[in-house]
Symmetry: D2
Subunit: 430 residues, 4 copies
């Protein structure tokens, strides 16, 4: 094995699984390793350090191994400045451009490690030698946003990533890198944990993002979500044309897809309500106008308008209508979702695969996520995308949201009682 | 088409789909029909009547068509006495024996139509010319219960079945022959309907049977089910060794499969609790003894013992232990389940396919059933088995049971308030 | 019940379930009916006729009942010309506009029944009093295509629909209105039936549309689909950015999402292939250019370019890139899909819910559809959308497509052998 | 933290994840660790060694931590002889008895480490001081097999387990401890890998066990499985009454649950075939008698009888009949399955959760398993049970088995061609 490089890895690299993945990658790809130094943290707060030489028969294999080690946080023993190549045209990146992970990342530029802003996976990494304040700046750009002349990173040697580490003291419901999803966890206890987390984020002034599919409304959970919005627990809502239409139909006709959500009666009567709702909102000139005109008087969309929730309705090819508020261009919608996602401290993904994947694509691995769906495959797919602090639940959204709202709001009352002397009484939003 | 017979069909045969199925069967099987008379009920309470000649090219096809029509309630224009052949040996039925449906059935014996008792599908139909009181009697027997000399029906000509008809005035949550299962119904409203039905049956002195899988306990719903038992809403419980063990583990160690169902803490500690629980119950001599000895002090099994609920624990090849109370022989267990099923007025099937199918096999098509599972395929399979009054829910058992218990018990309180003057205060069982 | 109207229904209305649904609708909605005449077709080729008065307590209920009966093919005894109202503005329809079903439909205009063109559900129905040739013409328009001044139908009284009827002689794999989906059908026999249907449509010069999700490529079925395209069995392909990218990645790097589909080896090596593929195609200027430049040399997209298959790549918010060929605007993409769907005689929906629903929304109920997915809920949802000739299979797309291609192409060889004397040897495309 | 013990761990403990799990367990359970020595294997063949002191605030927590470390292969620095307590009665074990894992295990008895025979999880560990040959012997017993006086292990201090380690050189389709199941793997390539593994085991004279559910027959895969049996690739078959009945029905009537598996025709005709099949086999006196009498002439059961395949039909409460060959007692059936499982070198679990779990319960973690089901939750549940060499596929059993048989048998033909000069021509069993 004539081709060889030496890398260093440090941190909680044993109990976070980093070393297991690094050794595994070398073996899987047909290389070999020689551990030159390994200092094991002797107690739980102490970090470990590993320096090892990695070898392979040919430079391509070595490169593949180094790429894999890089993604797990390994750094070349002798890192050099990041290599930058100017983009030859708009939307065109140089060959072999560096494609980002969703982990915190730094680039070595001019001998200094700079933090990469707006981290998100599968992006180009751009370095601006003279940022707004005259100092070098690094950030990500999705392919279609790359402009001619952007300086694009093309090699990993001057880049280091920080994969998530196992939290030192538990993680509550938010398991560390939990690949699997079990429907064998106690449902109400898990929802209570999510409620506590949600209240904690809100109390700390954090940003709560809700991603919601139409099933939230069909399943009768709209009122509970509207309550959470009204109580100030939702900062941004990312949904689609279908979600909004079903919610608005409830306000206009008392039905969702034609069924009375309370009485379950006369489902047949309402066949046309769905398309009529869209037509009424078009006539009014949009959702906000319909709220202002008193046409829409309740529901999630109503509360979002009333509470200035940052709302993005992204279009899709299966939409009826669509509503005037729906962003029909996918790239434009993605950009709007990206802004929401970058601001979020916790994301609740409620019964929608399409929108949850779209949001997940924009999230750094450090954002907390809660993924709820009745279909285990959906929850697994969402958890696999790599947040280090994710909780997945295979449950019925129609009972999940009401139970969550109950736990969140009853917690608020307890707080109110406890904080009777305090000057600020609201859990969130100040 | 030289082979032909004439049949009669009557009842609400259009809106119950009977005529659609009958015409369809003739066409599917390659026969032809000639409608000789068709009197349509002119309003919703009026029954319809059809007499038609059915023809086929060969006697086998005609027989197959007549068999299909028979199962949909058609009767030969000129029925003759049922044909009976003595069983040649124990467990051995005559060739071409009549295999029952799960619909109400009558046999023509000695010129009179007799109701078949203990109706259940895929059974032999036995006629006892001199029943206990000296008059002819007809009943079903599963194959392995047939005894040498039993008079077994071998042809359908003297037999008529009564398939379920569409109820005249709605059916609430219990849809008529609803093949499909949607997860797009409002969850809490549907649960409220089930709760009302349950309370109604209980108030009428009816028999409530619960079939429960281990997920009821894992998912944290055990306390809610125990409450329903304690409040008198459960007359019989059909479950397995796993359900009972998980429930007992909670009482003994506070865990289910090692996880604390309340705090979700320290799942690792309890690896051995499951097998230790079985060992403790064996040591005590059984569940009832363990309750009496104060070893088991809470949970579903505890409440079943305390409230004299008719409990059957059926064994399976995946059982650990098993507990001394578990019936390990499948035939013996089936017989015990059969007795429960025949007594039931409403059956709640909670998160178990195996036990639900076993119970469903023994039910006549007239028993109300509620099928709840997180897996849509399970719910579909259970609904397909042919109860005419079934409601299926694809939901999380861990939120379903607590919500159901809340709705049932809050309903009871309302009743209590309303019935303050009444002498009998208990909702059920008197 | 003081409000009443008389309707007529005719056709194979018993065995198609029409009468069952009509009687059911009246009862469900709280009305009553009085059958004035009912002539039953006495044999399988004879149609039936029903005239009945329908009554309700209030005009709204009567209207709801009549709406439901209308959708099942009932016509008022005394139909009047369709009511038309001019659209007040672009994309704005009159209140209470008529929303179409997906069944063949006619409007009574100027005393004559005119066939509605481009039938599709949830659309406005427009009448152009002077069509291209000076005679009245009727057609559908989706809401956002409505232009100020369009004459929009607003009442159902002058409109009649023709719901699908049960085929007289079997339907092969394409069951009539089969709501349920069973995974208990023999897989290979069912695929053989689909193959025969596909070859039949192709031989008759019919149009075959394929809707494909990315799983077709991940699962290794890309080669088989490419073979079907090459052999001329695919007229149009409707897919997304992901499908195309995965397919192109295979041609460029031999991997799909980084895994070598043949050897299953070194999945780690190819993390970046996905995003690099998009970048390469952007650099080339699009898929067709990449094929012409010899960059892409195999796969489904390659064969589509080479065989002039009408291809639509519709964008979505979860897309990476996207490829330059991807239509990112949902309304524009829908319009392109609509053209494909209206031309199709048979549609194969392969492992994609999003694109299948989008296509299904545009299909009349008379188009044959084959829905294949590993998730039973997806297949059920697609079958529920109302094609009268649909076959659903819960199976693995990775074995389905290769088996289908084998059956289709081996059938072709048999034909070739049989047609050795014929002048035209190709099964399709002339 | 006043309570402390020192443990040693050695082997490929980093890349197998052992150290990650050990450190994690200490932290999860609230203890602390102090690494006294850690020698890292410097290359892939070199093992590592760790000695660390573990502390906790109270003896119970320390015990829980040690238990967890024990299960991951840690051994106390100063192990003492295993503690043995005589069982007080039949089926009754001492309190705090040691419950086995499914990993290879040794006990320290009389100063020597003895291998535990018949390893299987959740069992009691019995030591017989004077085995058949006069030397000490250790083996497992399920609870209900424990006899009064058996010497049962009650503490883990003299016991060490050997959890599976990551194989040094790949693992083919059989991933190491792969928790997740993806439907995004190429289906046919994966089946080809399973076929190669199967042929390899067979060629090495290994034992192939097949666990099959009724869906194998419904889905039309019966012929392919029968071919594999006939070709000598199946040593034992573990199934249920339903599987056998459906298979026999095909031989007797050409149908499965009444549907002709080839033509898909006349499903209605065969309603009774299922129950008639059982009746015919009862009449014949059992399956073997029915084969000998020429009543059964094809199918899986036929080939099993003809090829002396060790067959166990385990009963369940949902069985019809049952067949005379079905073992109705669950404990007796488990014992029969246990013998099959202990002999197996590779187990194919085909579309049955119940039987697969029963078999999986009896398997040591070193047996290769292949789990195939259309339901991802089933595959996940089976893989979670802890074989270190398992491959899971979410696919259609109706295409899986025929494709597998094709690959296995075509491979055999290739071998035959290659081995034309050899004296033994059969791939298996000599």
């Amino acid at each position: 094995m004539s081709h060889s490089r030496t890398v260093e890895i440090e941190g909680h690299i044993i109990d976070s699984g980093t070393m297991q993945r690094c050794f595994g990658a070398v073996m899987d790809l047909g290389g070999s390793f020689d551990v030159e130094q390994f200092d094991v943290g002797t107690h739980e707060e102490a970090e470990s350090y590993c320096r090892m030489a990695v070898s392979a028969d040919d430079p391509e294999t070595l490169q593949a191994i180094l790429h894999e080690l890089h993604q797990n946080g390994a750094v070349l023993e002798d890192p050099t400045d990041v290599e930058l190549v100017a983009a030859p045209a708009d939307k065109v990146v140089p060959p072999d451009f560096y494609s980002t992970t969703n982990h915190p990342t730094e680039v070595l530029y001019d001998g200094e490690w700079i933090e990469v802003e707006r981290i998100e996976m599968d992006c180009a990494l751009i370095v601006d030698p003279e940022g707004p304040d005259g100092t070098p700046r690094a950030y990500t750009k999705v392919l279609n946003a790359v402009e001619e002349g952007d300086l694009v990173a093309t090699d990993q040697s001057g880049i280091r990533v920080k994969p998530p580490e196992r939290p030192r003291h538990g993680g509550g419901a938010f398991g560390f890198m939990q690949g699997g999803v079990s429907s064998e966890r106690p449902s109400e206890s898990t929802i209570r944990e999510v409620a506590e987390e949600l209240r904690e984020v809100a109390e700390d002034g954090g940003n709560v993002m809700v991603v919601a599919g139409p099933a939230v409304i069909h399943s009768g959970a709209g009122d509970a979500l509207a309550e959470l919005v009204e109580a100030g627990y939702v900062d941004s809502l990312s949904a689609g044309n279908g979600f909004a239409t079903h919610d608005l139909e409830r306000s206009l006709y008392g039905t969702s897809l034609g069924m009375d959500v309370e009485t379950l009666e006369h489902p047949r009567k309402g066949h046309k309500h769905h398309i009529w709702t869209i037509s009424e909102i078009i006539r009014a000139g949009g959702i906000e106008a319909a709220v202002e005109d008193g046409i829409v008087t309740e529901g999630v969309m109503y509360q979002c308008v009333r509470n200035d929730v940052d709302t993005v309705l992204a279009g899709s090819i299966r939409d009826d209508g669509p509503l005037p508020d729906t962003i029909t261009d996918a790239v434009e919608a993605q950009d709007a979702i990206r802004e929401q996602a970058h601001d979020a401290d916790i994301v609740l993904m409620l019964a929608t695969l399409l929108h949850s994947v779209a949001v997940g694509n924009c999230l750094p691995s450090t954002t907390k996520t809660v993924c709820v769906d009745i279909n285990p495959a959906t929850v697994t797919q969402l958890l696999d995308r790599g947040s280090a602090q994710a909780v997945g639940m295979v449950t019925d959204i129609g009972t999940f949201v009401p139970t969550l709202a109950e736990f969140v709001l009853e917690g608020e009352e307890e707080n109110l009682a406890a904080d009777a002397d305090d000057t600020h009484s609201h859990a969130h939003g100040e």
